[in-house]
Amino acid sequence: MRMRAIALSNLAALQLLLLIFVPISGCATAERVRGEVEEVRNKVVAAKKSGAIKCAPKELALAETNSEFALHELDQGNFTRASEHSRLAVAQVDLALKNSKGCGPKKVIIKKPKKITVKKTDRDGDGVPDLDDRCPDKPGPAESKGCPDTDGDGLLDPDDKCPDKAGPRDNDGCPVGDSDGDGLLDNEDKCPNDPEDLDGFEDEDGCPDKDNDKDGVPDVDDKCIMDPGPPENQGCPVLDKDGDGVPDKDDKCPELAGPAEKQGCPDRDGDGIIDPEDKCPDQPGVIEEHGCPKKYSLIVVTKKKIQLKQKIHFAVGKSRIMRDSFELLNQVADALKSSPSLKVRIEGHTDSDGPAAYNLRLSERRANAVRDYLVEKGIDPERLKAVGFGESQPIASNRTRKGKAMNRRVEFNIINQ
């Protein structure tokens, strides 16, 4: 009984303890959970700031929702479930913080720019500050931007290739010399190292002219340095004033054109005597008459023909020459001998009596008879050409006796001289 009483009293004490302890422990849990939730919420805010929504979305969502669930369970008096949610929230928020490190927007710090102060210095002490001084280490006047002109040639030292020697601007401030000593300064001398020959030909360019007339004959060997000419003429031009191909020096008539075989002289009448020596240059003549025609009693030699003062008589209807015409033909032969270059065409003509064919043959026979006579007298047959024209070229009317007599004739026409 006593034991039972003791057991009952112990049970009662235990129940009492439970009654006291459980509320106390519930209060402690609630307090802890609230603290944890508060901590979680603060961390959630921090995690969001560091970009946990992007970098640790699951952890952040779990932490936030479970902290809310923990509070809800606390309100419902479910300490155990509250505690579970709280622990999960704490764990997840720590993970969220850890995973979102360096994930948030980076801070950009814009530093205030340093103030740059420029001190005006003047190293060369010329009163022109270095910033405005083209020559900060050489003193110079302000109007020259602080640069000196040491040689005083008007070019500032930095622009002067020879700052210590005066020289013109177009020679970059350097003095101009005369390297070849030809009297022309180098800046005006096209050949500063080759002296001008000063021979009066293009001396102003400073270059020597070794062949002024450019004929290929050097001036030293050229007798005519200003007139081009072949070497065989010592550089002098070969003159041919009359342009007949015979150089003036070989031309007996340098002013008159003439063939080389006549020493460059003309022979207008072709009598073999050149015009300057021909007293009758337009009439073939003989030497003994100084180029004038030999005077004949029965013929006259002109430039175009040998004119007959008489008629040559033939036997009627025949080609036999009558004796009384021999003297006439002898004079023709003599004239031809006197002018060996003359060639003549012997033309036979008739009147219109008789058939034309007969007349033609007769005129041919008579022209040949004259030719044969002259050949017999020693004239080269090559110089004589006999032609019969018959009645075809009358010089007078065939209706009268006088006219017919004139038409019956022999002519000597000069064909080549």
Binding site: K54, P57, L60, A61, H72
Partner: protein, 100 residues
């Protein structure tokens, strides 16, 4: 069954059955919203994942509360779950290539 008894049953059902029905409906809606969000890969799209996982938590909690017959809070969590799932889905649709 008399008309009086039937009316009493309807009143009883309407008095006690509203919570479970509504919570079930809300939870089903939330589940569907979460599934749609998952189809759009909201769990992988940056910016949407946070809302997707929060929606899942609320949905689980809603189911848990429904299990404890705490319908009121289950409905509240269910609605929040759907709202968050819808937001996660719309963000995922708008940013399909920004997968984590």
């Amino acid at each position: 069954m008399s008309l009086k008894k039937l009316a009493s049953l309807i009143v009883l059902i309407s008095a006690f059955g509203c919570g479970p029905v509504e919570s079930t409906s809300v939870i089903l809606d939330a589940e569907a919203a979460c599934a749609k969000a998952e189809i759009e890969h909201a769990d992988k799209v940056q910016g949407a994942a946070y809302y997707y996982f929060a929606a899942e938590q609320y949905l689980d909690k809603a189911k848990e509360e429904q299990g404890y017959s705490d319908f009121e809070i289950a409905i509240d969590y269910g609605r929040r779950a759907k709202k968050l799932a819808d937001k996660a889905r719309s963000i995922a649709i708008a940013n399909p290539k920004s997968s984590q």
